[in-house]
Amino acid sequence: MAVPTIVRERTPQLVVLAVILALNGIISPGFFSIEIQNDRLYGSLIDVLNRGAPVTLLAIGMTLVIATKGIDLSVGAVMAIVGAVAASLITSGYSLPATLAGSLFVGLACGVWNGALVALLDIQPIIATLILMVAGRGIAQLITEGVILTFNDKPELIFVGSGSFLNLPMPVIIWIIVAILAILVVRRSALGLLIEAIGVNRRASTLSGVNSRVILLAVYAASGLCSAIAGVIAAADIKGADANNAGLWLEMDAILAVVIGGTSLLGGRFSLVGSLMGAMIIQSLNTGILLAGFPPEFNLIIKAAIILIILIVQSPASQAAMANFRANRQTVAVKTESREHAAR
């Protein structure tokens, strides 16, 4: 009874994460060792937390979007745009606060654009965000003028990607803060409930007084903001803005993290904690495959297999079959019980 609800609800994810981490520990014996060098924690576990930062941030925004029965395909492209904006602002002499403010504003604007298409023009989310996904990398290259903008001489921005605070790498601190803020906002207010209501039935929730347009707009704006933070971290990490490769395919990883975390693509109930675990599962897999000496190409096949398993578990058809199976067993149990009664 002492087991908190959150642990009980997320048992499958916790088990998977533990199994993968244990496998990693078997493959490379030093996996769990953590040491402090130069006032910063080092070790494979810290590396998982650190490398997983962009996907984790994207997954936070993506969870909220998917909970409204939507999807945001543009997050990778927004990361590229924001990285380009951050690099060009800092190299043209703006201070760090101004650069960060400018970058986050651009990400927010991208999110509001997506949200406006979905909420105001009633365009299907997958199509609405496809526009920015296609055009986004072009826009990013327009900002960087086709080159990889580097900022090796700007330690203040690089600090965001590779610095450390309280012995923890900055990206880890940032994603933990964003996650806590997001969970507090949606779960300590009615907002989370309203988001789920829209995901289950937008028309019904609109009719019962939920301002679905504003909430949809806010959800996509939040996703844009999360992508912006991820974009700044990714750019600061490589000390430059790469319009072609920043955030490439990360939208797929983010969606996968959300789905692994137990949020259904059909909208409705969502779990931010689950998505965070999903992101960590993906990152531990990536790290494990590298540690095992397999080529990183194995990643894709393993991800495909994971999606397939989740599809089978989540699909309405197999869930109906499961429910049927359980009901049958119960009736059988009842019958045998009554037969025993009759025998007595």
């Binding site: 299907q124 496809l130 327009l142 190409e297 096949i301 991800k303």
Partner: protein, 334 residues
């Protein structure tokens, strides 16, 4: 209703003609069969896979796996031709069987597990790309003599333009696609599925067979597109054709097909491919513009066409409501 059905196609045609006029007025040389021939050759693989995508989108689905399948086909062909003495034609047949079965399997998962096509084909995209990585991560050249024979086949158009074999294949695929969509039972079923799944089911459309058939067709055409792509590049590379699925979807939407399914034409997709090709050709002719403008302009066109579709739907909804009001008012006045 009849008119609004053709309006997106008409809009695409107007955009195409306008774009061509702008191009020719800036660069008079673009009005030649040479440019037209190159445009068709350069976009042949995209056009072929876009035909499959049109069927998928008409049925209300989406297929994200086509780019990976194209890459897989190229890698498979190059590895087989390098390591064995199998004739390319036999290899073509083998790979087409594989990709068709792959598409059919995705269609089966979509229908029997009742899952969104988006996530199923996403898994297919990872799987196909992963398998081609496993075959080889190098770019493998193809220098089979049969390939050079195929590459040398062309039809000389008046004006010196060359209509290459792969461009001819694309035109044939479009012609066959138009016939399938408009003149066969399967085509009618596809439109019915996209219009309304439940009523299609109630009317007796074999939903399982049609869904599997649609994705099998898309897989087959992606395989054919991969063969054409390997003829075009003379190599197989597992990182090739990244993002082709987006270009194909964009061509379908710019071609006036409704993304919710049910409305659209294969011929429109051909115009969509031509518009994308024109933008690329313009950028090449200009020389100072960078290639990223292609993406931005395509993004703008996508937005324009999606907004147009929304506008049309609003208008038809409003006129339907007005008609209902009018018919409700009539009995009292009569």
């Amino acid at each position: 209703m009849k008119n609004s059905k053709y309006l997106p196609l008409l809009a695409t045609f107007v955009v195409f003609v306008l774009a061509y006029i702008i191009c020719v007025s800036v660069f008079p040389n673009m009005l030649s069969t040479r440019v037209a021939g190159n445009l068709l050759t350069d976009n042949a693989f995209l056009g072929i896979t876009a035909v499959g995508m049109t069927f998928v989108i008409l049925s209300g689905g989406i297929d994200l796996s086509v780019g990976s399948v194209i890459a897989f086909t190229g890698v498979f062909l190059s590895v087989i031709l390098r390591d064995t003495s199998i004739h390319p034609l036999v290899a073509f047949a083998m790979v087409l069987v594989l990709t068709t079965a792959f598409g059919a399997a995705m269609g089966g998962v979509i229908f029997f597990l009742e899952m969104p096509p988006f996530i199923v084909t996403l898994a297919g995209m990872f799987l196909a790309r992963g398998i081609s990585y496993l075959l080889t991560t190098d770019s493998v050249p193809i220098n089979h003599p049969f390939y050079s024979t195929l590459q040398d086949i062309y039809f000389l158009m008046p004006g010196g333009g060359r209509l290459t074999l792969i461009a001819i294949i694309m035109l044939v695929v479009f012609a066959v696609g138009i016939v399938i969509a408009q003149r066969t039972r399967f085509g009618t079923y596809v439109y019915a599925l996209g219009g309304n799944l439940t009523s299609a089911q109630l009317m007796g459309v074999p939903v399982a067979k049609t869904t599997i058939g649609i994705y099998a067709l898309s897989g087959f055409l992606a395989g054919l597109s991969g063969i054409v792509f390997s003829l075009y590049t003379s190599a197989g590379y597992s990182l090739a054709a990244v993002g082709v699925e987006l270009d194909a979807i964009a061509a379908v939407v710019i071609g006036g097909t409704l993304l919710t399914g049910g409305y659209g034409f294969v011929a429109g997709t051909f115009l969509g491919i031509c518009i994308q090709g024109l933008i690329q050709t313009y950028i090449v002719f200009d020389g100072t513009l960078s290639s990223w403008w292609t993406k931005i302009v395509i993004g703008l066109l996508l937005f324009g066409f999606i907004a147009l579709q929304r506008g049309l739907m609003w208008m038809s909804e409003r006129s339907a409501r007005n008609m209902r009001h009018a018919s409700a008012a009539q009995p009292s006045s009569a």
